[in-house]
């Protein structure tokens, strides 16, 4: 084998290795992202209150994703696309809040749709506390942490069947939330 042939073979081997590595990296990235682009829980159909204002907003159907404590969380279909909603658990189909994002949900860039209620009690500061925590998260999200302004964890709630809820959160200021995967790796942080 000539020196030139050896060099050609070495370059070819390097190119093959690089291509294989690239495929591996691409597959790994895709497989990591995929669970963040899905909500596997399709729930079960419930009728939205007859004659309710929601129908006039184009809501076509509702699926009850989960009941957590006193709250029911819904996946909704509207004429504008998918929405999520919530309402009191004791009145199935009664919606009290609806969020209809335009564009894809969930995605790796937005794996959580937070329906939590925040409260401010001062006119002069933007400190808010959590009145209630709830929302919908992608398959790959196993817990949600609500953070204090200094970055410490105020509350951590598990995600089960794509839903999280905490009806009696601790008091004190909250300044955002973080989504974690099963290994405790941070997946997303609220804007």
């Amino acid at each position: 084998m000539t020196r030139r042939t050896k060099l050609t073979l070495a370059i070819a081997a390097l190119l093959v290795a690089a291509a294989a590595g690239s495929v591996l990296v691409t597959r790994t990235d895709a497989s990591e992202r995929a669970p963040l682009s899905r909500v596997s829980n399709v729930g079960h159909h419930v009728a939205v209150e007859r004659g309710s204002v929601w129908r006039s907003f184009g809501l076509r159907s509702a699926s009850l994703l989960a009941v957590r404590g006193a709250r029911a969380i819904y996946g909704l279909e509207s004429k504008g696309g998918p929405c999520v909603g919530a309402g009191p658990a004791q009145e199935p189909g009664k919606l009290g809040t609806v969020d209809c994002p335009r564009g894809p949900f969930p995605t790796s860039q937005r794996p959580v749709l937070d329906l939590s209620v925040y409260e401010g009690a001062s006119h002069d500061s933007h400190d808010v506390s959590l009145y209630r925590a709830e929302g919908v998260a992608a398959d790959g999200v196993v817990s949600i942490a609500f953070l204090r302004p200094n970055g410490t964890v105020a509350l951590k709630v598990p995600v089960s069947a794509n839903v999280y809820e905490a009806g009696a959160p601790p008091g004190g200021p909250v300044a955002g939330l973080v989504a974690y995967d099963a290994s405790g790796k941070e997946l997303w942080r609220s804007p």
Partner: protein, 102 residues
């Protein structure tokens, strides 16, 4: 347009806020556009708080995403004589269309 300093000048809870008059409101509906631009996932740099307020507190949900939202006072643990509100919270100015029903 809702940004730092935007006000309806009718005594809202925050300085940078638009709010309705007082009433026995049923629903607050907010549509946030992509203004001044969305990322590929329809997020904007403008974060808003939308909901209701009374004399003691303001409550609501946060969003910075393009889309439509509706919330009733009872969802926020509120009732009675209220104002519907949308507050600028952070980032760039948001373009919103908001309506309250009573």
């Amino acid at each position: 347009m809702l940004g730092p300093g935007t006000s309806t000048a009718n005594g809202c809870w925050y300085y940078s806020e638009v709010c309705s008059g007082w009433g026995y409101w049923y629903l607050n509906g907010v549509s946030k556009t992509c203004y001044p631009g969305c990322d590929p996932y329809n997020g904007t740099n403008g974060k808003i708080l939308y909901g209701f307020e009374n004399r003691d507190r303001i409550r609501g949900n946060f969003t910075s995403y393009y889309g439509k939202r509706y919330v009733q006072p009872g969802e926020l643990g509120m009732g009675g004589y209220l104002r519907a509100q949308v507050s600028w919270w952070a980032g760039t100015t948001s373009q919103i269309n908001v309506a309250v029903a009573g």
